[in-house]
Symmetry: D2
Subunit: 277 residues, 4 copies
């Protein structure tokens, strides 16, 4: 008899845009929601009995209906509300995961009701809720950054296939994905400020760090967040090395003192780590 | 005998990142360059005689070599330099088109040499140069905007397949591509400021316009630019209607006073126009 | 008074999947439709008067309703039906453009009702209809091909920025977009076969041609289609040069007799031409 | 003192195309390789000491050099060779993961040296090698399939947000990602045939299954593979429910007996499971 070991399902990419109207001054919240349920769901796989299967279409409807009843103040708070909603009414579900990605809309100038989606960076929250516990991981996606000084890479291992020259001055570019797990007890109104503060610490540390490698800087950034924010229990960073290659201009009788580069998308270095207390 | 009617070729997506260093304070310029040549090129198609074919690989090299010799102050200026370079040395080429798209890197805080690529919006310049004339079209791509008031759509044509309700209050979202043709005589140092000013007029007009349709607002925005800037000869705007659909919550006993929407990517309305003096 | 010069609008990316059922044996047709109207539409831009504006939402509904009434035999035939529908009922419209892209679903084995979407190639039709005339351009998109012999590039123009070596044996890879204009009078049931035949001639010519450049092969392919098919009035081909770069293995004491390559997406050469009778 | 818990790094998306030449008859193998090393790498994070860090650039070079020395017969075999190469020479590395994705190039007709990249489906292999053990997981990505009969969804859980109607006849479309772990001892020359056979069993089962839900069919497909192939130890399938929505044509006085659908990309149902012996 084969053994069925994962029993999870849900709805991904439920898109929602909410307009909050305060006496003519509007705000816009745009999110992309994923709902995933875990539990005793084996029957539908094995026999086609759907009596314990809440349709994923209902999950979608629920997202819209709850947003109407409880306007989205922060994605962390809304994730928690959604997660508890499903857990409370589905006795056979042992764990709910809610993942929300937020697309920022910034006000255009001082206009009351017009907005520009200026950034490709996204804010993220992942909530896990079980009958006994609730945990939240917050973070950001697609934060593309570059430093043009204070980045070296020397003293590395070499073999017969190594052609990379050592360098005391290179560009370091990356696209950060970050996830930090928060202690419980944070209030709904605190999440927005906390997100901004952690993001600023990550960027400042990246900027001033005398980098000996991407790993070295990644650790420094994670460490800075843990040092600064008692509420952060651990932090995971993914920082692929998006290479900017120095162009060889000597063929044309020109020097190139780290001035002209080709930015490339592939291949890229893959660097990540989790740092916890 | 078949007739060969287009004779154009070139290199697309030459990516270049230039670091400009001013006593420890750095700037970063990232561009994507396309070079296209037009002229008496029929022979290579018809007989395989390549004696008039400058390799597209050489075009790529030229982009890097010229950027080293003439640091990129503005994309408009660099496009002009590139275009004239090719036209001057290739007697059989009747027209050169240079298209440059710039990816903005913003300084992180007040740090000297670290940057964030925050926006997915791009700045664009297209230069056409012939032995007798040079013209430049500037613009922007992928400016995603949304207004949540002052947008109506009523009084439209109806037939048996029309189900869209008339509405005096809807969301209007779009992703603007804009191209404006400039009069000659603009100085290299003026392009950056002019770009910012035209962009601001487009956004302000979009924000305050009492819109009766996307077409109506598109025209108002184009008209505002022509009124404000004598240097702009014409302007072309593409403003697809990126629909935000009101979710029907009445099935759940809830109202939805224009508060909960589904943002969609497809299908979308296609709206565009060129307005000239 | 500014001058409004383009007056076109419509709906893009209307996606439709039709299941045709023949006594238990099914067929699937998936298309993506764009409807664009041209005509005397200035009023809606200038004054916001929408009385001549058929909503793009109605265009979408019409696509679905007509597909129900007239099952899609070929995209060319359905484009024609759609185009004439809009032209006939909208007196102020001077021209309708219908563009349809088809995604192929192939039957899985000999099963009656299961399908696999195996290819990323697309079939395309563009119809233009005016009160007096109707013309159809057929074609394909995203046909990715590669030849590993019979491709040379020598005798080209050189200057101080040329580093590309001449080569008598290189890889030639491209992603073909093709559009051919057909004479009138082709019957609906002939389009499918004709599409397959033209595609086969393009592929065969690409395969056997002794290529002296991409331009040289592009012209040979276009010429072969014109020679073989009297119904084709002209053909436009776009064949970007998707470079496969030979890896320099001499640094590791290894030769590389055109065996190990890096396929790249950017930059790429841009090559295109139109050949007509 | 913070705790560093992941210590993994490597190179992703090393693209390689190999031409194998057999007396004028060519074959093309295109792969995308990821190399990831795990081990005692903490020092580079904590102190910037790179003495145990093999540059990811060297990993890239190694991929090319080994492919030249050992032509790629199957991706499974090449993954194993790469994995053992890194493990054998890096004493501080405890585990190597090699992931290879293959893009198929099919011969054009019977031509000796021309090819078409017809499918967007990809073949995949993931190898894990430690000093004591080697395991291989094979699979496929992006296999887009659709069945137009024998698919029902009834008897599911309902609540106040459920609007989905029960249906005995719906379309079921999905994009399969599959990974199966193989027993050791499979010979290099067997991998290609085995891949084809497993793929065929997955497709046949999908086609003939009387589906009561996506989960039900997923399990049947996994079970069929385990029953048919003794070498398969377990199999993981991801089968998102890519919805095709029935268009309501009653507004236009038309019926729609499961004939006209809107294929959608988002939101989608997320369905997955692992089945093992």
């Amino acid at each position: 008899m084969p053994n069925l070991t994962f029993e999870i399902y849900g709805k991904t990419h439920v898109r929602l845009l909410q307009v909050l109207r305060h006496n003519g001054v509007h705000e816009v919240v745009e999110i992309d929601v994923t709902v995933l349920l875990e539990g005793n769901l084996a029957d539908c796989y094995l026999t086609g009995n759907n009596s314990q299967v809440l349709p994923t279409d209902t999950m979608k409807n629920t997202v819209y209906a709850l947003a109407r009843q409880y306007p989205i103040e922060t994605i962390e708070d809304f994730a928690s509300r959604l997660g508890r909603h499903f857990l409370n009414r589905l006795r056979h579900v042992s764990r709910v995961k809610i993942s929300i990605t937020q697309t920022a809309w910034d006000r255009i100038g001082s206009h009351d009701s017009s907005f520009v989606q200026s950034s490709k960076e996204r804010r993220n929250a992942q909530l896990f809720v079980t009958p006994g516990a609730e945990s939240i991981t917050c973070g950001l996606r697609n934060l593309q950054i570059l430093k043009t000084s204070r980045s070296a890479f020397v003293g590395f291992l070499k073999d017969e296939y190594t052609t990379l020259p050592e360098t005391g001055d290179r560009l370091m570019g990356t696209v950060v994905d970050a996830d930090w797990t928060l202690a419980s007890g944070i209030q709904a109104h605190e999440f927005n400020q906390l997100h901004q503060d952690i993001r600023r610490v990550l960027l400042d540390c990246f900027s001033i760090h005398d980098s000996l490698s991407v790993q070295h800087t990644l650790y420094a950034m994670a460490d800075a967040v843990l040092k600064e924010f008692d509420q952060v229990l651990d932090i995971h960073l993914t920082m692929p090395n998006k290479h900017c290659l120095v162009v060889d201009l000597s063929r044309f009788g020109l020097d190139n003192p780290n001035q002209i580069f080709v930015p490339t998308d592939e291949p890229s270095g893959y660097i990540e780590a989790r740092v916890s207390r």
